[in-house]
């Protein structure tokens, strides 16, 4: 019996399907630029492809095409250094495969492509890159896969494309493009050669997109959808409006694992996300490929007498707009907002939006690429506080501080376009617009008027800039320059231990390394039911790039509720009922940036050992910020482990040794089935402890998972006794002097003797408790 199997059976026999490390039966090396063609069976995938990248390579482009049937949904997943992990004996969980992909192209079409550059959090590095191709339709499909290495010194340049056709996908707002075809004759003006109003509008918008493209040098397709609408009339109206179509973040717990983004738990604009993903929005985020990255609307009435009287848009390229409104400058300004120049903090309710949150409140608990760089400076010698770290009241003060709101991104601080560059901090921070009386829409998301002549100032000026100016550096800081992002050098590999959230103390997990398997873990979630009674759930799976990625079982759960059937020869089951739903993910990467870890709750470790646990049990779901329980070292044997008996499964004894003044102590947790077969647990701490000591077992009266932690300490009652005779787990079981331990236990759930669990058996340590080092990415 494998050690993994011992671990599993010791608690609930859940890992019977485990057969050890997946065998790499057949791998196919791809040669750069040489397509391979193969058949993907219906509802299946092939993961055995790889290409070896060299140091001199600057780009890797991978294409997967459904031959002859581009409408068939095939997807492309890519990761470096280690293969995709799954159990080859079972159908694979597509979600688990997606959560292992470092890059992906997963549109709803059969034309997938992505490019990895030597930039970003997971840059192109020398080594082996693994590729998986997935077929989501119930028909065989022939596909062509090509991986191409490039050594070009220049990254690819893909100018922003402008959709003037109003092509929309299902669910999107309608798009009026008739004004782009207005046949009203006009004379060419200011370098715009159009001879109709529609032509001049098209030419001017294309020129605006060209100017932005030349400055930003996009490396992936970015699509600007331009529409016209009635945005008001008279002497006060909206000239134009724009947005990033969506905002994206990397949080595997909410089904949004995007490890290619520059930061975890941080919102980025659609076009910045696409740049970091190395592919277009539909391919990294799914869905049809006619979705725009940036949407812009212009007001149809401006060019009529109904809007602003005789004034109208000026479509020339030369900024000689006179009393009219320079269309290109308006277009660049609005598109720049859509590219990522915006904050996600409320400027308070308005007549148009009376339900908006109060001034200073955040629209999301997650950070965002723009606000992460904003600081509040209250005095000239104050380095400033991150705006997102302030409470609502202080953020409101910052937003109305006149000159205290600053943008402190790396590019802005060093930019030759920043007139303050060279001043010592905070004198080099770029001031943002923060008038004493908040100006909704302008406050925070624009430069201060003290930076005169800037495109992204709060008021349009006669200068009508056609360049991004300092906004270019802001965009670089909010995700447009992956070259500046620090690459991940290693992924966390947590040691076996107890992890808990101080805000939910009493609940927690034993996260345990399975010996003999590479980065494979067994998890016990000890918790309380709605009545505060102890119960536990279990899971197992690989840790991939610092993320615990268990696959769904046949019943669709990644977190199982153990069920022990008394009297059966094989008593260990899991709850397969349709009414049960259990899901879990643990992410040990950059947890400190997560909303769960940034809640300000006292006692958080605030170091790299934190993890975000996302769990679902039936209709309950939450994200908790876990940290390990750290205890003083022991002087004698470290008995910390999970113990069990391979011939008698369905329970386990967890032990945790730690040093105390009197010597060594131990915490014990017995996981056992109650009379109904439901998994329960009871505890004891023995201080000092020597093997063979006897102790009472206590049942803790806890509190439900989504309840606030009680003010008073949890109470407990004696429900049994235990006598653990433990042997040194560091002594290999194969050594001549190995001897199993022994455990005598009896425990009555809720003190009911008719539900007694009783054993007097030998036990052996089952998990790897040794220290581990993080996994280098090289």
């Amino acid at each position: 019996m494998s050690i993994a199997l011992k671990v599993a059976t010791a608690v609930a026999g859940l890992l019977l399907a485990l057969s050890g490390n997946p065998s790499r039966a057949q791998e196919i090396r791809l040669e750069s630029g040489e397509p391979v063609v193969f058949t993907l069976p219906a509802a299946a995938f092939a993961d055995g492809f790889y290409i070896d990248v060299e140091d001199s390579d600057t780009a890797l482009t991978i294409n997967l095409d459904a031959v002859e049937y581009p409408e068939i949904d095939v997807d492309l997943l890519v990761r470096r250094a280690t293969p995709f992990q799954f159990d080859p004996a079972l159908p694979a969980d597509a979600s688990a495969l997606f959560d292992q992909a470092q890059y992906r192209s997963a549109s709803s079409s059969g034309e997938e492509t992505l490019t990895v550059l030597k930039q970003g959090r997971l840059p192109l590095r020398a080594g082996r890159w693994y590729i998986a191709a997935l077929n989501f339709v119930n028909a065989d499909v022939q596909v062509q896969l090509t991986a191409t290495r490039s050594q070009s010194a220049e990254p690819p340049y893909v100018p922003i494309s402008v959709d003037l056709t109003g092509d929309i996908s299902s669910g999107e707002d309608s798009c009026n493009v008739a004004p782009f075809n207005d046949s009203t004759p006009l004379s060419p003006v200011g370098g715009n050669s159009g001879t109709t109003l529609g032509q001049q509008r098209r030419n001017a918008l294309l020129e605006a997109a060209r100017l932005v493209s030349e400055e930003l040098r996009p490396t992936v397709p970015i699509r600007l959808r331009a529409c016209w609408d009635d945005l008001g009339s008279g002497d006060s109206l909206t000239l134009a409006q724009a947005s990033s179509t969506y905002i994206f973040l990397d949080d595997t717990g909410i089904g949004s694992h995007m490890p290619f983004l520059d930061e975890r738990f941080t919102y980025f604009s659609t076009p910045a996300s696409a740049r970091q993903a190395g592919t277009s929005i539909c391919r990294f985020a799914g869905g049809p490929c006619n979705v725009a990255d940036v949407r812009a609307e212009f007001n149809t009435t401006v060019d009529t007498a109904d809007g602003l009287g005789s004034r109208g848009f000026y479509y020339g390229f030369d900024r000689n707009h006179g009393n009219d409104i320079d269309f290109i400058s308006v277009g660049i300004h609005e598109v720049t907002h859509g590219l990522g120049f915006y904050g996600l903090i409320s400027t308070g309710p308005t007549d148009d939006d009376p339900d908006a949150p109060e001034l200073g409140e955040r629209y999301s608990d997650y950070g965002d690429a723009y606000d992460n760089h904003v600081r509040y400076v209250s005095s000239p010698d104050d380095a400033g506080m991150p705006l997102l770290d302030l409470d609502v009241a202080d953020r409101a003060i910052a937003l109305t501080s006149h000159d205290g709101l600053r943008f402190a991104g790396m590019h802005v601080l060093a930019s030759p376009r920043n007139p303050l560059t060279g001043n010592p901090a905070p004198g080099n921070y770029a001031p943002l617009f923060a008038p004493f009386v908040v100006n909704p829409g302008s406050t925070l998301s624009h430069f201060s008027t003290s930076l005169s002549g800037e495109l992204m100032g709060p008021y349009a000026t006669a200068a009508a800039p056609h360049t991004l100016g300092l906004a270019r550096d802001v965009l670089f800081d909010v995700g447009w320059d992956p070259a500046a992002v620090e690459a991940v050098e290693s992924f966390p590999r947590p040691a076996s231990g107890i992890y808990f959230d101080p805000a939910h103390s009493g609940h927690g997990v034993n996260f345990l390394r399975v010996p003999g398997l590479e980065d494979f873990y067994f998890l016990v979630f000890y918790t309380f039911d709605a009545a505060g009674k102890p119960e536990f759930y279990i899971s197992s799976g690989p840790l991939v790039d610092g993320v615990f990625v268990p696959s769904r079982g046949a019943n669709g759960d990644t977190l199982a509720r153990p069920v022990y059937v008394h009297g059966e020869a094989d008593p260990n089951r899991v709850d397969m009922s349709p009414g049960f739903n259990g899901q879990i993910r643990l992410d040990f990467n950059e947890a400190a940036k997560s909303p769960a870890c940034r809640d300000g709750y006292p006692g958080r470790s605030a170091d790299a050992s934190q993890a975000v646990m996302t769990w679902t049990i039936n209709n309950e779901s939450a994200q908790w910020c876990l940290q390990p329980i750290l205890a003083p070292s022991v002087q004698g044997p470290d008995y910390s482990n999970l113990w069990g008996n391979a011939q008698d499964t369905g329970w386990g004894l967890f032990t945790f040794s730690y040093g105390v003044d009197e010597g060594d102590a131990i915490s014990l947790v017995i996981y056992y089935p109650d009379g109904d077969g439901h998994g329960r647990w009871a505890i004891q701490q023995l201080t000092p402890f020597a093997s063979g000591d006897r102790g009472e077992l206590l049942q803790v009266q806890g509190y439900c998972r989504l309840c606030e932690i009680p003010d008073e300490p949890l109470t407990n009652s004696v429900v049994g006794e235990i006598t653990p005779g433990l042997t040194d787990p560091d002594r290999p079981s194969a050594s001549p002097d190995f001897a199993p331990g022994h455990m005598a236990v009896k425990v009555d759930f809720d003190g009911n003797a008719s539900l007694r669990f009783e054993r007097d058996v030998s036990i052996v340590p089952l998990v790897d408790w040794s220290p581990v080092e993080d996994a280098a990415t090289d």
Binding site: Q26, L239, I254, G338, Y459
Partner: protein, 96 residues
């Protein structure tokens, strides 16, 4: 070797310092990789289709507006406005 870059003098054809990708089409190689079944919908679901992983619900970015007002003195004032109403609240654990 492909000649990819011309020096500014235009006098000689030299290979790029970092040779760019050879984009000439190459014949496709037919292969037969090992393939594996994808898990169908969980047993407790009535459906029996292979499910593509559901991505998190999308959230729209804020709409930034540029407003114009014609003042009594004939001056045109332009200023921005912002609509965050399309940004949905966060729902941790909301894996569709």
């Amino acid at each position: 070797m492909l000649c990819l870059l011309w020096l500014a003098t235009g006098l000689s054809c030299v290979p790029a310092a970092h040779a760019a990708t050879d984009t000439m089409a190459r014949p496709a190689r037919h292969v037969a990789p090992a393939t594996h079944a994808l898990q169908r919908q969980p047993r407790k679901s009535a459906a029996a289709e292979v499910a593509k992983p559901a991505f998190a619900p999308r959230r729209h970015g804020p709409v930034l507006k540029l407003d114009a007002a014609l003042e009594a003195n004939g001056k045109l004032e332009l200023r921005c406005d912002e609509d965050h109403s399309v940004v949905a609240p966060t729902a941790p654990g909301d894996r569709p």
